[in-house]
Subunit: 500 residues, 2 copies
């Protein structure tokens, strides 16, 4: 019943003394790789192009900066203590390895409140419910109600040929009455689940349940559309419980930096990776000019979109897989407000408002509830919407976020203070949100990268089925450490096959 | 669109100088009443029978004690820093007044993680899924899948006479495909939503989706029964976002005590409440013997089940309403464990496991994630199950919790350290969990208590439609402060009608 060992157990054996490993990229994967290899005695060096560690695991706070392609340098002016997670902002409870490293590195966690029935669906310019703030609970419970009513009707009128006993059919009907909140006539007429227009209180105030939306109105306003309706929270990776690092997700990166900081050369931008007879030779530039580094083994965690622009002598299969890699276009904007009107005026504490306009989503902060100021994510969008938004100037992105956001929260106009936007596909050293594969490209591209190209190993979330998640970085680090250690131990004749 | 004033706005006007108000009960309602009346200048005294404030708002920690009827005194031996909320443990995001007082009193909040798809349903001794740990996500997504498949079939075979356009019907089908996670043939075959047997990871490990449970098995194992299936989280008051006070819910009580502590006589057990021509006279006992107190007005927050045993000269209607009051039987047990095996071994962080046996529910702590020790609620049961459990000796309650709990978590046996149980209906000064009303008793009983009996006002959660919630105590306090202040101001000729 219990697992023999937790999935985060990791005890590779070997002696890395005298072996040099060059790690390209000081993100979570690169730093974790160095952390684990160092435990085994390997001499590691990390080259990191940015002046900070963490890569996409980045929390924007006062002084954070970014320069996107074709745009001026942006430096965050957020108040002290204010921040937002420009990269990963959520940890699923089943990403054991991520949670394990948080524990091992002493990073405190708090709940990321991904599910909030009190946030909104907002359908701009569509149908009878257009431009209204519809609480998530209204859509959820109205749809459960209507669908349960219809199925109850269908089954009780014996219109479905169910492979169930008569008793079991009675139990399905009972389930539907409960699931849908149906009335005594098995009809859905609204219930307290969807909220009150007058709250229950003292004396004779029993509360007044709000009326249900009409099914036809929900449909024609687009609120049942799969890309809008919140089936997102059904997704395995988005189911509660979810976590975030207290104080910003970059606390994970800085905790790793405390362990391997002395091995990292920041501001070191790799220009070429060459396999040689003796090992691997990497050229890079830093503030003092052109540099070279050599090692027995190189572990490359550079995103494929960035790697594609470097010189290398990889095999044609590998080269092709790199050049044709596909990454998602995605962007976020953090908006700092004078006060938390979403909490104070609208009782929205964390969670997500979904909208059909270019914002796609508004994320409310899951930290420092009931404090004075706050930063929310004014948009978090993908693909076409992210490309469109990313093509705007910084001030026009802010303008878009404020104009569209004010349709939902008119308080925006009075309370807004500062913004900072990130378009990941336009950000050098990242050039995309995360790797996107189809079942075809898993075969035609991904597989070519699974084996090392001579002395060069590929690692990072793009080398996993955990794309977009920090778990991908950690799992990939473990995997590459195992492979490299097995290979080098074998070379020394002290080979012990160790399972990952 | 925005409210003119938040619902917690409260600005009664009046001058209470020279007027004495005697408040019976130092729970949340009694202390809040004193806090607000004191702001208006009234002279308040609170009589509290226990040696602590807070009433049912009680967190059990080292040294906490309770003596239930017919049982020996129980003193908690929990480790320093360990606690559980024996009374209210959750604050809904829409209980604005509770949240308002937390803010005003400086009580920090954190998420109470009420929804956790990684916790279990556990059906003991029933059907083919008997005694198996079924993850909440499995039941949720299997049932959504099967029900959506059935309705899709019914609609697409034109068996339902829907009052919808052809386009809208197509959209309902599209919704059902997304809601149920149906496959290309519109059948439910399981999906990643319900979890993996092999998790997605690095290399070729794409992950292996677990097989769905059979609908007939879910039904005959009772997992779709309304009293077992988790429709609880659909309830308005149990929808996320939910909060708890950091460090224990009693932090709210102790924060109030900081404001009104000097007005409270602890260990003062009321024996009689007599309306007189001049006001009201209350007898009570304390360590020094029999005492008397008099005042212009008395606000009685004593639970009706306790009040029923006191001497008084209330009208017959009021007396009858008190004597026939119904309160829920309910109990909890806190179990301290050496390590958080539910987190470490099973990735359960907060949330609730539901079971059909006497435990009813296991609550996992929503605090101090990834720390070493932890206290979970081994049971939280109601009505017959609570009466049965409450009738056990303390050691037999612990035995029940461990034996039944070990069916779900065999780690119980090795990791258990200490327990503390509370049976609220057997606890003097409470004698029940919370007031239970039917629509009939709202008319025949409750209404008699809404008006003061001469100089005596009744207040507390039992005087609201917010039974079981701290919000009831706060709302009732606001309500009675308004009424008393209006009456006394009127008497002085300075009457200004103030709306609550």
């Amino acid at each position: 019943m219990l697992k023999a060992a937790p999935s985060y157990a990791f005890n590779p054996q070997g002696d890395g003394k005298g072996k040099k490993v060059l790690i390209l990229g000081g993100g979570l994967c690169g730093m974790t790789t160095a952390y684990e290899l160092t435990k085994l005695g390997y001499s590691c060096t990390i080259l990191e192009a940015r002046d900070r560690v963490g890569g996409r695991c980045w929390s924007v706070r006062k002084g954070s900066h970014n320069t996107e392609t074709g745009l001026p340098k942006q430096t965050a002016q957020l108040d002290d203590g204010q921040y937002f997670n420009a990269g990963p902002s959520r940890i699923p409870h089943h990403h054991e390895l991520t949670l394990h490293y948080c524990k091992e590195l002493g990073v405190p966690l708090q709940i990321y409140n991904n599910v909030n029935e009190g946030a909104y669906y907002f359908s701009e310019g569509k149908g009878p419910l257009s431009n209204q703030k519809i609480k998530v609970r209204e859509v959820h419970n109205d749809m459960r109600g209507y669908m349960s009513e219809l199925l109850h009707k269908s089954i009780s009128q014996d219109k479905l040929d169910l492979a169930l006993s008569k008793d079991d059919i009675e139990k399905v009907l009972e389930y539907l009455r409960a699931e849908g909140g149906l009335d005594i006539d098995n009809l859905y007429k609204a219930s307290a689940r969807r909220g009150y227009t007058v709250a229950p209180s003292t004396g004779n105030q029993a509360g007044k349940v709000a009326e249900a939306h009409r099914l036809a109105d929900l449909i024609s306003s687009g609120l049942t559309d799969p890309d809008f309706y919140n089936v997102a929270e059904y997704t395995y990776e988005l189911q509660m419980t979810m976590f975030q690092a207290v104080g910003g997700m970059d606390k994970i990166a800085t905790a790793l930096e405390k362990k391997v900081g002395t091995l990292i050369k920041k501001g070191a931008e790799v220009t070429s990776i060459i396999n040689t007879d003796a090992g691997v030779k990497v050229s890079y530039t830093d503030t003092t000019g052109k540099q070279e580094a050599s090692a027995d083994i190189c572990i490359c965690t550079i995103p494929l979109t960035v790697l594609s622009n470097l010189n290398h002598n990889f095999s044609s299969d590998v080269s092709r897989a790199i050049d044709y890699a596909s990454y998602i276009a995605t962007g976020k904007i953090g908006l700092q407000f004078k006060r938390r009107f979403w909490e104070e005026d609208e009782q929205i504490y964390g969670g997500i408002t979904h909208t059909n306009n270019d914002l796609t989503q508004i994320f409310y902060p899951s930290n420092d509830y009931q404090s004075n100021k706050g930063v929310l994510l004014g948009y978090y969008n993908f693909n076409d919407k992210a490309i469109k938004t990313g093509n705007l100037s910084l001030i026009d992105r802010e303008k878009l976020a404020l104009e569209k956001g004010a349709l939902i929260h008119p308080q925006y106009l009075k309370e807004f203070e500062k913004s900072f936007s990130v378009s990941w596909h336009k950000t050098p050293c990242s050039l995309g949100g995360w790797a996107l594969y189809t079942s075809e490209t898993r075969e035609s591209m991904y597989k070519a990268l699974l084996k090392p190209d001579k002395q060069v190993y590929f690692a990072g979330e793009h080398m996993t089925y955990l794309n977009a998640w920090m778990a991908g970085a950690f799992e990939s680090a473990r995997s590459v450490v195992t492979e490299v250690n097995n290979r080098l131990s074998e070379q020394r004749g002290e080979y012990k096959k160790v399972d990952k």
